[in-house]
């Protein structure tokens, strides 16, 4: 099973004198959940922003394989084409919804490109001609599907900003999924969720994976990471220090040292192992 969907090679990103990501290379496999973890300031979010087109990396390449063997260079695409051509969707660490618009409208905006194409530059749409009506019905059906998946159907006509925090997080995932991505990138999806919401999130992410979309996530909550990831990449100071299955990562001395600080070399396994194993 070596079907790679995302290949990051020698990715380097500098901000002035600070090298936030230094020659990072890793792969994410199709149909798997890949987690990017590391202590604060390790460069996870920077790497993530490079992949999703919010930063232009100084060096290195990022490519996505929509079908096995194909390759599309994401780092060559303009920002908005990452979602359109690259079919990579993302969510944000601090939820970025269109707060004043309704839940359903949020999901329709995510399907903008497909819908806009059916309106004939807006002209046919204004006149009510063309395939627009059918396209909109299809779009609403897709919205309905994701509203059901995220358990938001009841709130579809409410302003997105009026939802409770957990629901806003789910809506953001639903919105990203409405762009019909092959790779969904999640920036700390479990941040601020209570244990029950967190468990529901795990189930949702596993469902998305089983439906054929690959996932890449940054997460601090080891409970989520260890439970659902198929593959973990650990960063520290902008470099990859480990790469493997949750089981391998849990026992990796380098990772433990990075999380607990290098000073603890006398007693490397005691407290850190506890942190990492706190997840059943």
């Amino acid at each position: 099973m070596n079907d790679v969907i995302l290949t990051v090679t020698d990715l380097t990103m500098r901000f002035g004198g600070l090298t936030a990501v230094n020659r990072l290379s890793f792969e994410a496999r199709r149909g798997e959940i890949t987690a990017l973890i590391g202590p604060n300031g390790a460069g996870k979010t920077t790497a993530f922003n490079c992949i999703t087109g919010f930063y232009k990396p100084n060096k290195g390449s990022i490519s996505i394989a929509h079908t096995p063997g194909a390759a599309l260079r994401l780092d060559k695409l303009p920002g908005h084409a990452i979602a359109k051509k690259g079919r990579v969707a993302r969510t944000f660490q601090n939820v970025r919804l269109f707060a004043g618009m309704s839940v359903l409208e949020n999901l329709l905006v995510a399907q903008h490109n497909r819908l806009q194409a059916s309106t004939g530059f807006g002209v046919l749409g204004i006149l009510g001609l063309g395939k627009y009506r059918a396209a909109e019905r299809a779009a609403i059906e897709l919205c309905r599907h994701w509203l059901e998946q995220t358990n938001l159907t009841d709130r579809a006509n409410d302003p997105a900003g009026s939802l409770p925090y957990g629901a806003q997080r789910r809506l953001e995932i639903a919105r990203a999924m409405c762009t019909n991505p092959v790779l969904l990138c999640l920036d700390e999806p479990a941040a601020g969720l209570n244990p029950r919401e967190s468990a529901a999130l795990n189930a949702l992410l596993l469902k998305i994976r089983d439906d054929g979309c690959s996932l890449l996530l940054i997460e601090h909550d080891m409970g989520v990471v260890m439970k659902i990831s198929d593959h973990i990449v650990v960063l520290d100071h902008g470099k990859k220090i480990a790469d493997g299955t949750p089981l391998e990562i849990r026992s990796d001395p380098g990772v433990i040292a990075a999380y607990l600080g290098e000073g603890d070399e006398d007693d490397p396994d005691a407290p850190i192992a506890e942190t990492l194993e706190e997840v059943p």
Partner: protein, 422 residues
């Protein structure tokens, strides 16, 4: 109890400050004595009056803040207007269509209707940029000017008719909208406002100084009035005029009524396009852009093109309105396109509740109609007008109509009812 004392103390402190400030201005008066030297007299009554007035004004303000009702007066009314919007809008429309036909309506009121309708149209046009796309544009008058000068120059130079020039004016204004859009794509909020403000001034200054083309400060006059299928509204009557063709007496009311229906048509066109666009992907993308530009980009929306279409379409309607303005006035000069026009239109949009079509109509009636109707009050009219605006913004800080209605609703799926066979 202590709250009341605090209020009194505060009012007294403000009154003391008023005493310090007004003391030299009101309390002392310089005069000429017959001998030619200055005399100093005091006016304690006037000073006392001002200080007492300030004391009670401040007291009233504090009491209002302390004991203001949970629901401000006007909130109820505004909510009702909002809810009954679907009845009010058609009622207003019927009134607008019928206004010139009502017997006994004087031309001056129809003319006022034309003026208000022009601003309604400008407000609706600017609403696309400010209300929907959330791009603060302080130079909207530039597109108005482009439209007006397009018509004035085309008609006086090439003898083109109003109806031929109308689309060209809109198109040229839209081009300028895109032209302005490019440099400001990366700007937001205050910075965007400053650049658009400068753009408005640049257009006005170019018009003023390019004397060879635009006539400079002298403007362009003898701009032809619009014709109805080639029939002019000349007061001379005779063949080829409206009155001559229908064998009626020429009257100034005919031309005013015709102008009224043109602007009504143009304004309704603006409204219709905006309402349709709001329910289209483009309109939703504009609103999404207003809410969060970064999220838009992550969803694959081309932020640049979306902003440019907002600028272009908003500018196009500004150009149409400008074209109409030129044909109505018959004379245009740079003085008609100063910053105060942009500010008025923006005030209409903000006062109406950004994004609300009906709110803009109400705001245009208040902003344009009230000062005109108060003409008889002479110097006090702008004072009353200013106080009225401040009061409106206290009572309705987010505009007359600030509730947004979703453009699409999720309807429950109708599941087929299971019929059990008997």
């Amino acid at each position: 109890m202590s709250a009341r004392i605090a209020i009194l103390k505060d009012a007294a402190a403000v009154a003391f400050m008023a005493f310090l400030i007004f003391g030299p201005f009101l309390g002392l008066q310089l005069g000429d004595s017959n001998a030619g030297n200055l005399t100093l007299s005091t006016r304690p009554e006037l000073l006392a009056l001002a200080v007492v007035a300030v004391f009670f004004a401040r007291l009233g303000m504090l009491i209002w803040q302390e004991y203001r009702p949970a629901r401000l007066p006007g909130t109820e009314l505004a909510l009702k207007v909002q809810e009954s919007g679907r009845f009010i809008a058609p009622a207003l429309l019927v009134f607008a269509v019928a206004l010139p036909l009502i017997p006994g309506v004087q031309n001056v009121y129809i003319d006022l209707g034309v003026l208000i309708m022009t601003y309604v149209m400008l407000g609706w046009g600017l609403n696309i940029v400010v209300g929907l796309a959330g791009l603060l544009d302080l130079g909207y008058v530039a597109f108005y000017a482009v439209g007006a000068y397009s018509y004035a120059l085309l008609s006086t130079t090439f003898n083109m008719s109003f109806w031929e020039c109308l689309p060209i004016s809109g198109l040229l204004a839209a081009c300028w909208g895109i032209f302005l859009g490019f440099p400001v794509l990366r700007l937001r909020g205050d910075y965007l406002a400053i650049v658009t403000l400068a753009f408005g001034e640049i257009i006005r200054l170019v018009i003023t100084n390019w004397v060879a083309l635009t006539g400079g400060p002298n403007g362009i006059d003898e701009i032809p009035h619009p014709t109805l299928f080639g029939l002019s509204f000349s007061m001379a009557g005779g063949p080829g005029t409206f009155a001559g063709f229908f064998n009626i007496l020429p009257a100034p009311g005919q031309r005013i009524t015709y102008l009224y229906y043109i602007i009504l048509f143009l304004a309704l066109l603006t409204n219709w396009v905006t309402l349709r666009l709001r329910k289209q992907p483009l309109g939703r993308a504009w609103e999404a852009l207003r809410e969060d530009e970064i999220a838009c980009r992550s969803l694959g929306i081309n932020v640049r093109n979306t902003k440019l279409t907002a600028f272009a379409i908003g500018a196009m309607f500004g150009g149409f309105a400008g074209c109409f303005f030129a044909t109505r006035e018959g004379f245009i000069s740079p003085d008609s396109f100063t910053f105060i026009e942009s500010a008025t239109v923006l005030a209409i949009v903000v006062l109406g509740g950004a994004g609300s079509q009906l709110g803009i109509v109400l705001a245009a009636c208040v902003m344009i109609g009230v000062p005109e109707l108060l003409q008889s009050l002479q110097i006090y009219r702008m004072l009353i007008f200013g106080i009225a605006l401040v009061l409106i913004m206290i009572v309705r800080p987010r505009g007359f109509i600030s509730k947004r209605r979703p453009t699409v609703l999720l309807r429950p799926v109708l599941r087929p009812v299971q019929v059990t066979e008997p």
